[in-house]
Amino acid sequence: MTPGRRPFHFDARVEHASLLLVEGIEDARFFTAIAHRLNRTDLQIVTVGGKDNFRPFLASTLSKSDNFSRLRRLGIVRDADRSPQGTLQSLQGALVHAGFPAPSQAWTPKQAGHLTVSLAILPDSSSPGNLEDLCLRSIENSSEHTCVEQYVECRVNVGEQIASNRLAKSRVHTYLAVGRDSVEPGLRLGEAAEAGVWNWNAPAFQPIIDFLSNL
């Protein structure tokens, strides 16, 4: 793949003292929206191109990049998927393999030498799930959430097979499918964050906002 300027793509250069690694483009857009809200212009947000790429990205690309020695704070956000503990162990292994400090648990930074590493596992450190689950928690008590639940339940009742690990994604897409005033229908999760759909004041987002604030 020819190197070039692509959004949230790491072109081999550490640009700021703080760097956040995420899985994909939508994650990057989502966290960039939070960073804007926090006025964090000094935070570089990069997608590694999938959850399986954290390990090679850390060892083969990031650790060999220009200005790597200037990096002070590295944050990694990953979905817990089926196992938050398994995800934590996977990230710890990737960090150790690359020679980086490896936190013993999520949300608790670990420092060694010039670098402090923090891990955020979504939706929290103890539940299976992902970023979509976190977003759903932010609208948990809203009428829209009820509508979404009813719609998905209806689809299941008419015989639709929705894999359990895709339920949250289906719900978020359903929620975003309708749109609202000044918001296009059918936005993706990251686009919705950029469009101001998500309520950052919701308690569900507070841990991840704190995470980015401290990065």
């Binding site: 190197p3 072109d11 590694v48 083969s60 690309t61 060999k64 020695s69």
Partner: protein
């Protein structure tokens, strides 16, 4: 004052090259950890022998105070090493340092390096100051290498110091007039600088080899002499050996700016023909031009040249077939000459269309394996890196590394990408150059 002047004529070159090749093919070559025999790496055998265990490969190289490099260690080195980096990061300087270290007793090489970079000769008053970091000759240049299992591959110290009469006397004596080197003659020359460049090479066993050189004027021309050294050089590439040099395999430097001279290629091709290698070369060139059926030397005026049979009514000079064919021919011939040694290629992709790069890399890898040659090549080209990766991956060969030179904390430093590293980084699309 009469000192011995070395002549670097064609006859001396030919004799020396023959001698070198004989030595490189010999099973008793003292330099090689294990002798390389012709054909040892051919065909499937290359997969059964760990190349780096058999060949005299550098696995680590350190430079102090050479050109723009103050202090640099580059490791691990692989069988094939691609050197990348922005302009003025010392890529060519790294090749030059490796080349000096691999032929460590030739005081005239510094002068050759200047010409090699396209600078025709130097001001004797500055006498090679540009070899030294920050142009400071008080900083000794130190070049050292290691092989597998931390085996010492020798250390070369280069100094510039005041010439004295005793040095002249010593060096003159070391020329051993009773046994003059082939192709040499005596002539009246006069020293025109009072500084001398001194090369101290200490081999793995602690044996020291020293040579010195200074500027002299001979027959109205200013030249620099490696007083006890002999060397061969061409417009583009050079291969150096000295009478007093520690036994080393030949190494060839192919520069970016100057092509290998046709005479040099003809000479090398002649040697290849003698070993029945000419057909092999033709099939190698087919990768760039599928019309090439056969290569031959034709000694027609004004000068003998290498021709290619491309199916026309008469053979065509290889030079007419384009830069890519000429470049690949020079490369292939250089491998033949560098058996058991190293080859240094500045801007390896020069003259080659991107669409043939993968095939060329496949061929270079094969040649490297066949002749036991470690490759150091620079490039600015992403296509070149990507093609190298594709070629090596297709062969299941992971003996390719990329080394990036860049400024880190104000100093030139090296970052090495293993095959695994470079594969991921290329796939991901991050910049390595």
């Amino acid at each position: 004052m009469i000192i011995r002047r070395q002549e670097f004529g064609a006859s001396a070159e030919s004799a020396e090259v023959a001698e070198r090749e004989q030595r490189a093919c010999s099973s008793s070559d003292p330099f090689l950890d294990v002798a390389i025999l012709p054909g040892q790496f051919e065909g499937d055998k290359c997969n059964k022998v760990r190349w780096d265990q058999v060949c005299s490969m550098y696995t680590s190289f350190s430079i102090k105070n050479f050109r723009c490099i103050e202090d640099l260690t580059i490791e691990p080195l692989a069988r094939v090493n691609l050197i990348v980096g922005k302009n003025n990061m010392g890529k060519t300087a790294l090749l030059e340092a490796l080349w000096l270290h691999s032929g460590p007793n030739l005081p005239g090489l510094g002068d050759r390096l200047a010409r090699f970079r396209g600078i025709p000769g130097q001001d004797p008053g500055r006498l090679m100051h540009d070899l030294f970091y920050d142009f400071d000759p008080n900083r000794t240049i130190v070049l050292s290498a290691k092989g597998n299992d931390e085996v010492d591959k020798g250390t070369l110290n280069i100094k510039l110091k005041k010439r004295d009469e005793s040095l002249l006397t010593t060096v003159t004596a070391s020329d051993s007039p009773s046994d003059p080197p082939r192709g040499s003659q005596e002539s009246d020359v006069s020293a025109i600088s009072d500084t001398a460049i001194t090369l101290d090479y200490t081999d793995a066993k602690g044996k020291n080899y020293r040579s010195s050189g200074w500027w002299v004027r001979s027959e109205g021309q200013t030249v620099q002499l490696g007083t006890n050294a002999r060397m061969t050089f061409t417009n583009e590439g050079m291969a150096g050996q000295a009478a007093t040099m520690p036994p080393r395999p030949s190494n060839v430097f192919l520069g970016a700016r100057q092509r290998t001279g046709p005479d040099e290629d003809v000479r090398r091709f002649g040697n290849a023909e003698l070993e029945g290698y000419a057909d092999h070369l033709a099939s190698c060139l087919e990768r760039v031009d599928s019309r090439i059926q056969r290569l031959l030397t034709i000694a027609a005026p004004p000068t003998p040249m290498i021709y290619a049979d491309v199916g026309l009514t008469r053979p065509v000079p290889v030079g007419f077939l384009g830069d890519g064919v000429s470049r690949l021919l020079s490369l292939a011939l250089a491998f033949h000459e560098s058996r058991g040694g190293m080859i240094f290629i500045d801007e390896v992709e020069n003259g080659l269309h991107y669409s043939v790069l993968e095939d060329v890399w496949r061929e270079l890898s094969r040649l490297s394996t066949e002749f036991g040659v470690q490759i150091f090549a620079t490039t600015h080209s992403h296509e070149c890196m990507a093609s190298a990766r594709e070629a090596f991956a297709s062969m299941g060969d992971e003996t390719l590394c990329i080394h990036r030179l860049s400024l880190q904390d104000g100093r030139i430093a090296a970052t090495t990408y293993s095959f695994e590293d470079l594969t991921f980084t290329l796939d991901y699309g991050a910049e390595m150059r």
